[in-house]
Symmetry: C2
Subunit: 374 residues, 2 copies
Amino acid sequence: MAVLAGVFLDREAACGLPALAGDANRGPKSFSAQNPFRSRAPVSATLDVLTIGNAIVDVIARADEAFLAAQGMPKGSMTLIDEAKAEAIYAAMGAGTEISGGSAANTAVGAATLGARTAFIGKVREDKLGQSFAHDIRAAKVAYATPLASDGPTTARCLILVTPDGERTMNTYLGAAQNLTTADLDAELVKGAAITYLEGYLWDPPPAKEAFLAAAGIAHGAGREVALTLSDSFCVDRYRAEFLELMRKNVVDLVFCNEAELKSLYETADVDSALIQLRRDVASAVVTRSERGALFVAKDAVVTAPAYPVDRVVDTTGAGDLFAAGFLAGRTRGLDPATSLRLGALSASEVISHVGARPERNLLDLARETGLLA
Amino acid sequence: MAVLAGVFLDREAACGLPALAGDANRGPKSFSAQNPFRSRAPVSATLDVLTIGNAIVDVIARADEAFLAAQGMPKGSMTLIDEAKAEAIYAAMGAGTEISGGSAANTAVGAATLGARTAFIGKVREDKLGQSFAHDIRAAKVAYATPLASDGPTTARCLILVTPDGERTMNTYLGAAQNLTTADLDAELVKGAAITYLEGYLWDPPPAKEAFLAAAGIAHGAGREVALTLSDSFCVDRYRAEFLELMRKNVVDLVFCNEAELKSLYETADVDSALIQLRRDVASAVVTRSERGALFVAKDAVVTAPAYPVDRVVDTTGAGDLFAAGFLAGRTRGLDPATSLRLGALSASEVISHVGARPERNLLDLARETGLLA
């Protein structure tokens, strides 16, 4: 498949959003020129992408719509649950496949398999699931050195019900993940990372919120970029005002969201008006639109890219995480936004073709096969 | 897809093995008429299939041929390892997907999803993996009541390396599974099961061998059938004489094997001569031949069935287990051997299309979609 090199102006661009075609393929150096933290030249990054998030093991089972209804689970959502509720759902649900997960951790793994130098910070306990989590992320060549907790809550798990249409409904017991604190931040790691990527879900456990803000401060102090994924429309609903403040105060430079999250952020059903507000509020953003592709927006640019076709959507878990992985890997390689979007779309297409939120194929090989990377 | 209703005489049949076309579709009642334990009419079965085997959780990771070579693993084999070796391999291997497994347990799950009334007997410890195993098999509607061990070795695990061609190479730490004893046998369960299915792997842990023989005795005492899978060519190599004795002394009535196991059993590269010996040694057998289909042989019959086409072989783990599941489910439904073989082939085709040895789809729905079952 040929590299999608051009700039595509779509209906968003046509409705009042000026797109500077000459600028869209400039590559990362100038792409966030509006960002005050980009004003001095940073020392060379020792890491491409550092992600920080809730460290979670997924337990994935198939379920039908009736099961979701009987359990009162809003389809497609992520619901926070306590350990007792986790036990009750587990007892009721079908046979589970256990695969390491966690949104930002999935993104780190995806970026690593695309050749990016990556690290992850997140908390597990030193129990069976925690050991699996640590093994798996390290096996994917992601640097992971957050100390495992020797006591306290057990390792976080996410009970994921996948309906026949491939859609996932998640129930998360945060457990040990909620004890991530500023003390777990490795400042040198943050300073050395070209992009520090934070998940909106970190807003759920209060101490993690502080770690999030501290990491953003350290990254900006070192002249690096800070990215945020809005994670989930329900998450946006919980923290709308805070997320908007992070954007408006330039605590984050690059936002990842899907259309549902975007609509939730601006409490509107109108994507066009939400996009106009998004471009005012943040230096740059990637908006994913499932099978309709994705777009990158900055103050002066709108770039779109189509989705990759998928034979059968098996499980959408991790689609957004892997899209971000592809985009970030492309961006830190110095690729233009259009190609980075395509790399995101390709990565997402791989992960929705099988069960689990971590890629089964080497994404670098896949990108080379499709001609996206040389 | 149409039901394969006819009898196909293949080259085995043509080379000295008489096939009685009129007999091949007789259904189970007369199919093991040669077996002395079928001489009196059994009381109605309360269970279709009881399987007994090593209760194992699989940890599945992708690996390349170079990894197998570096680790000294014979590709396609199952090697028994101790816990220290399991830790060493785990540390070296890639990120793992954990899914309940165990050969006979997979067969029970497969038969259950085809609508058979099934139960499983096998030993785990009451640890995280053991609890997952118990949850998963019960979630698949397989009756499972073997007491979980409260101490002793940890739950068995099988480290499975899947190469790009989909072939699996297994390393099994038997742990708690090796403590299955005659005391764990529920005699009423065995008496009530139309077919008791035992895995050759049970010959590895010595106490389980006794439980195996006790179960066969109870089953035959109640006028039931006893089936054995030869499990693995290396397993056959370890226990050739004993397996042959089980067959020749009518301790087992129905043998499942693939061509590699068959050749190993008779220490020959010539499948035809091995088949002649197989028909002399056991009342009936199912021989699977990967993409070349499978055949059912009895003293007076040879029936063949083609394989189901598969778009992409992702992971062959469980192919034999699920073939057996389909055949047993068909047989206990009273279907003829040809249709039972087809049900086996269909079940195997589903399980090799994804990672893991348990079906992801409802096999009954699948069999109905293909027209194999009404």
